[in-house]
Point group: D2
Chain length 345, copies 4
C-alpha cells in the first residue's frame, strides 16, 4: 500500500470545504461569480489581506491564472521576468508565449529573484542602444513560496517591490502554495505585508485545501479594468462561479487557510529534520512544504517501496533530485512511517 | 421567494455525483487526468457513444473547451463557420480570435446550419479569385442543441457531416447541453449517431448534472496529437483531474446523464405547451430545455414577481424575447406554479 | 497588347520618386527610420496635415499597417468595427484575428459607416446585460476612400469622429488610396480636416505613386507609446528605413501626392461618365479612382480583349460586377481607347 | 566626414539591381508575386540552389521572414531552439512569442548550435516525465553566417540536419547574410549543400545587394501548404511583389549575389588581418563580413573620429566589444584608410 508524498494535489478538499459544498449544493444562484458566496469570500479576502480596495476574482487553476493575469496586464511587446525554475518558464507548455509574451528567464539557485538582479537586468535593457528592438520588460513574476520550496522574507519582498517600482515594472506574486508560507514557522511576512508589496497576487486554493480555485487579488488600479472580460476570453471564468466563492468562503474563515497549510509545512519540516539528521543534502533550503533532497538511486528505490516520491532530475554524480511534498491532508502516521524508513536507510 | 428559470447552471450537481465526490474525497491519486477515475470515465464514454478509438479529454468549461479544441485543430490562417447566434460568435468575449482564428458567422433563423449552406459558402470561397487573401474556412462549429433550443435531426447531422467531408472541413459539435437532446422525446439521434457523424464533439457536464466539466471526444485521428499539451497551454487542464473523472463516471453510469436531462427537457415542454395553449409565440421552435418566448413587458414583469426569467432582447414591436430554462434540477412543483401563473396571465 | 485597368498597383513609382531613390542610392545612413530622409519626410507630413504633434511612422504595406496599428492600440479583449466590404474584414486573410482581435462587421451599401450606425451599435453593446461576455468594441476602422470607391465628406467624418469620442472608441482611417480623395474634384475634406477628425490614419504610398510604403500618423497621445517596438515585433520595420523617407519626402513635396492622384481620379471619372452616358449602372457611386460597374458577360469579354479589368463578383441576374481602376500612372491615350471601346459596345 | 562600418544596410542596392528597377519601373504587371519577374527569379533560385521542387516566396525583411516561417511551420504548443545570440532571441522585440511560440535559447560561445547539443536537449525533453507540460521543441533555427560572424561548415550542417531528422525537428536556416558565406574564402558549403541539408532557408537580400527582400526556399513538403495565405495574414506580402522578383532576378544572375558579397567578406578579412597583426583579440573567430573585436575605450574613440563602428557591449574588464561590418558596397579606399588608422593606434 503506497502513500503519496509526490505532490500536494493528491486528495480532494478539506472537510470544512466539502461540507459547505454539500450544504449549498441545491441552492440556486446567479452564475459567473455574481452570487452572494463570491461576494462574501471577496470580503473575507480583502479583510484577511488588509486591502479594502482590491479587486478579487476567482479562477480555476494555476497555469490559467498566470496566463490570464499576464495577458490582462501587458501590451503586446511586453515581457515578464521569471526565475529559471519558475512555473511560467517550465511547466506551462508555453502558455505565456501563447498569449503573446516573452518570458525572460533569470538564473536563480534558490528559485528567488532579488532586487539587485532586477535593477541590473532593467539597466542592461534600459541602456541598450538597440533597446527598441528588444521585448520590453514590464513585469516581474515570482512565486511565494517558490517552485523549489524557498520563501521570500518580508524584507526581500519589500526590496524587490521597490526595485520594480523604480524600474516601472509590475510585481506579480504567484501564491499557488501561499498557505504553506503563511503557516510556516520561519515566515515573517503577514498576509497584509504581501498585499502591501506587490501589484497583483493570487491565493492558491487547489494545493491548499480546496478542490480547485485560485483567488486573484489586484491591488494596482491600472490592472483592474475589464479583468472579467479578459478572463472570460481566456476561458477562465466558471459558469457556476459560486463553487469558488463557497470554497474560498469556507477556507478563509477563522484562518483555516493558514492553519491547515501550516500543519502541512510542519510535516515537511519533520521529514526534513530526519533527513538532515541522517546527513542528506538538499538542492536548496526549504522552510515550506516541498523538500528537494539528494538521494542515491538505491535510497530512492527503497523508499519507493512504500511511498510515492517525485523523481525530479538526474544529477551529474549519478544521484537523484527527489521531491518530498506534504500538504494540509498529509497524515501524521504516514509522516512517522516515512521518517522511520528514512532512519533505517 | 423567487425561483430561477433563468439558466441551467443555477444549482450544484446531481446527488449521485456529489455522493461520489464525497466518497472519494480523501483518496490519493495522480494528477492531470491520469488517475483511475478518469480512465474509467473515458471507458464509459467510449462505450456509451460507441467510439472505441476515440480520445477523451476532460476540461472544465464551455468557452474553454471551444477555444482549446479550435486552437488545437486549426492552422493560423484557418477559420471556423458558426451560426450568428452560436456561442463562439457571441458570448465568448472574442476567445476564438484570441487564439488567432476568425469566426465566420452564417445567418440562421433557427440557430442551425445546413449542409446546403456550408456547400454554398465553401464554393463562394473556393471559387473566389482572391481566395488566397481570405481567411481559409476549415471547420464547422455547431451546437447540439443550439443556443436557442433547436436541435439537429439525425438526417440533418449526417447531411451536414457529408458536406463538411466533401469540402475538407472538420465538424465540431458543441454539446454543452447535449443531455437535453439525448433525453428529448423528439430526438432521433443516438449517442452513437453523434459520434459517427462528426470529427470532434463534447459532452457538456456543467449544465447537465455536474458541478462542472466537459468531456471532449476526438474521433478524427488528425485532431488527436498533442491535445493534452495544447490544453495545458490554454490553461484548461485541472491539477486534480480526477474530479472530472469521478463526476463523469457517476453521470455516465446507467444512462443517468440522459435520464436526468430528459426529465429537464420534459419540464420545459410542459411549460411550452402551457404557453402555446395561451397563444404565446416563440422566437424559434424548441424541443429541448430552453424556450424562447415573446412576451409583453407587463407579462414579463408579472411572472418576474415569482420567477427569475432571462430577458434576452427588446423586439421591434416593443415586446420582449424571454428565455425560460429548465434543467435536471428543476422542481415539479415550481413548474406547476409557473404554469399556473401563465394560465392566469 | 493588353493594358491594365485592374488595379492601382500595376506600375512601379512616379518618376520623381524613382529619381530621388537613384540619386541617394549609394549614400550611407542609419537604419530603421532614424535617418535624415525619414526626419525630413515626417516634417513634411506634419506640415501638410497640420498636425505638428503627431508621431509619424513609415511601414511597408496596407495589411501590415492595419494589423500593426490595431495590435498597438487595443487590449486583448477589444474589437474593431469595420464595414462588411472593408479590407480588414475581407482581404487580409484573418490578419486582425491573428493579432488577437475580433472584427465586428457592420452592413454598408456604400462601404461607409455612419455616426448613427456607430452610436446604435455601441448602445446595443453597452446596454446588453451580458456585456462582459462580449468582445468589447474599442475602435472604428474606416477607409477613405472606401474599398468600393466612395468617400466621406468632411461633415460625415466629423460626425463619425464625434460619435466615436462619445462612445469611447478610437477612429482609425485607412488611407491606402488617400491621394485619390485629396485630389478628387468632389472632395471637401482637406488634409488638415482629416488629421483633426480621427485618432490615427495612414497615408497610402503603395497605390499612390511610391514603390511601396504607408505613413502612419498618430494624433492621439494614448496610441503613441512604444509604437516602434510593436511595429518591429510585427515585422513591419524596414532595416533600410530611409527608402521610405526618401520616397515620402519626394511625394509630399509641392503637393505632388494629391496632384498625381488627382489626375488618376479624373481619369476614372472620365471613364465613369462614358459608362453613364451609355446607360451602365454602378454598384455604388464613386467619385474616386475605382469604378464598380455592372456589365453583361459579353460586354466584359469584349472589353477584356484589350484591357485587363477586375471581375469582382457574379450578380444574381447573371451580370458581373466589374472594377475599373485608374491610378497616377494611367495613360491618357489608354483612357481614350477604353472610352472609345465603351462607346462601341 | 564619417564613413560607416557599423552595419551592412547603410546603402541602397547594387547598381545592377537599381538599373533593372529603373528599366522596369513603368511596366504593368499583376500583383502579389504572380508576375513574370517573380517566376523568373524563382527559377533562377531553384537552379542556383539545385532544388527543383522547392517553393520560393519573396518577403520584405528578416524579422518578418522569421516570424512568418515559424508561424507557418509550428502548431501552437511547439517551440524553436535558437542560440542565445540568435536574432529571434534578441533583436526581434518578441516577434516569435507574438505569433505564439517559445524560443528555447541554447548557450553558444561562437553563435552556432551543434548536433550534439540538439540531441542532448531533445533527449532531456523527450525523457522528462512531465514532458507533456513543456512547450514542445519542433524546430531548430540557425543563422548562416551567425549573428556574430561565424559560419557552419558543410559537415557541421550535415550533422546538425541529421540530428534534427533523428529528433523529429525541422531545421530552418536564416540566411540574412548568406552571400557573405557563399563568397567567403573559407567556406566549403555550396548553395546546393545548403538546400540539401535543411527543411527551409532564406536568401537574404536586404544586407546582400538589394534594396530589401528575402527569398524563402521551402524544401520540406510538409511546410509548403498555404504559405502564401499565412504570409498575407502576417502582413508579409507586397502588393507590388514584382519589385522583389526584379531585384532577385538581377542579383541571382551570373552569380552576382556571391560575387559582390564575397568581395564584402574579403574587405572584412583585410581589416581583421590588420587588427590581428596589431595584437587585437576578437570575441569570436569570424570568416565573414562581421568582425567583433575587443578595444579599449580610447581605441574606439580614436577610430570613431573618422568611422562609424558599432559599440556592441561593455566587457567586464572595461573594454568594449566593437562590431566592424563591411558589405558589398564597402569602398576599397575606406578599408585602406581604416587599416592605416588601425596601424597607427
Amino acid at each position: 500500500m503506497t502513500y503519496r508524498f509526490n505532490s500536494d494535489y493528491t486528495e480532494g478538499c478539506h472537510p470544512a470545504v466539502l461540507e459547505k459544498l454539500v450544504q449549498t449544493n441545491m441552492e440556486q444562484t446567479d452564475g459567473y461569480g455574481l452570487d452572494p458566496y463570491c461576494y462574501e469570500a471577496r470580503k473575507l479576502i480583502r479583510e484577511a489581506f488588509a486591502c479594502p480596495n482590491a479587486d478579487v476574482h476567482f479562477l480555476v487553476g494555476g497555469t490559467q491564472t498566470n496566463l490570464t493575469v499576464i495577458c490582462a496586464a501587458l501590451r503586446p511587446h511586453q515581457a515578464v521576468y521569471g526565475a529559471v525554475p519558475s512555473h511560467i518558464n517550465t511547466h506551462e507548455a508555453g502558455a505565456i508565449e501563447h498569449v503573446g509574451h516573452r518570458v525572460l528567464p533569470l538564473p536563480s539557485e534558490d528559485g528567488k529573484l532579488t532586487a539587485g538582479q532586477i535593477r541590473h537586468e532593467w539597466k542592461m535593457y534600459d541602456t541598450d542602444p538597440s533597446r527598441e528592438h528588444w521585448a520590453q520588460p514590464k513585469m516581474v513574476y515570482i512565486s511565494q513560496p517558490t517552485e523549489i520550496g524557498s520563501m521570500y522574507s518580508k524584507k526581500e519582498l519589500q526590496d524587490l517591490y521597490q526595485a520594480c517600482k523604480d524600474c516601472g515594472l509590475y510585481l506579480f506574486v504567484d501564491g499557488a502554495r501561499l498557505g504553506y508560507v503563511l503557516g510556516a514557522p520561519d515566515n515573517d511576512m503577514t498576509a497584509a505585508d504581501l498585499a502591501a508589496n506587490c501589484d497583483v497576487f493570487y491565493i492558491g486554493g487547489t494545493k491548499c485545501g480546496l478542490l480547485f480555485g485560485e483567488a486573484v487579488v489586484i491591488l494596482n488600479d491600472a490592472l483592474k479594468p475589464d479583468f472579467r472580460t479578459i478572463a472570460k476570453q481566456c476561458g477562465s471564468i466558471m459558469a457556476k462561479g459560486r463553487l469558488l466563492g463557497v470554497q474560498f468562503g469556507a477556507i478563509m474563515k477563522d484562518h483555516l487557510y493558514s492553519k491547515i497549510c501550516g500543519k502541512g509545512t510542519l510535516q515537511a519540516l519533520k521529514i526534513r529534520d530526519a533527513l538532515l539528521a541522517k546527513g542528506f543534502k538538499f538542492v536548496t533550503e526549504s522552510p515550506t512544504n516541498q523538500q528537494f533532497v539528494i538521494m542515491t538511486p538505491a535510497q530512492f528505490e527503497k523508499l519507493s517501496e512504500e511511498f510515492a516520491l517525485s523523481h525530479i532530475a538526474y544529477l551529474e554524480d549519478g544521484n537523484y533530485s527527489v521531491r518530498i511534498c506534504t500538504s494540509w491532508a498529509t497524515k501524521d502516521e504516514e509522516v512517522d512511517r516515512l521518517i522511520a524508513m528514512i532512519n533505517e536507510l
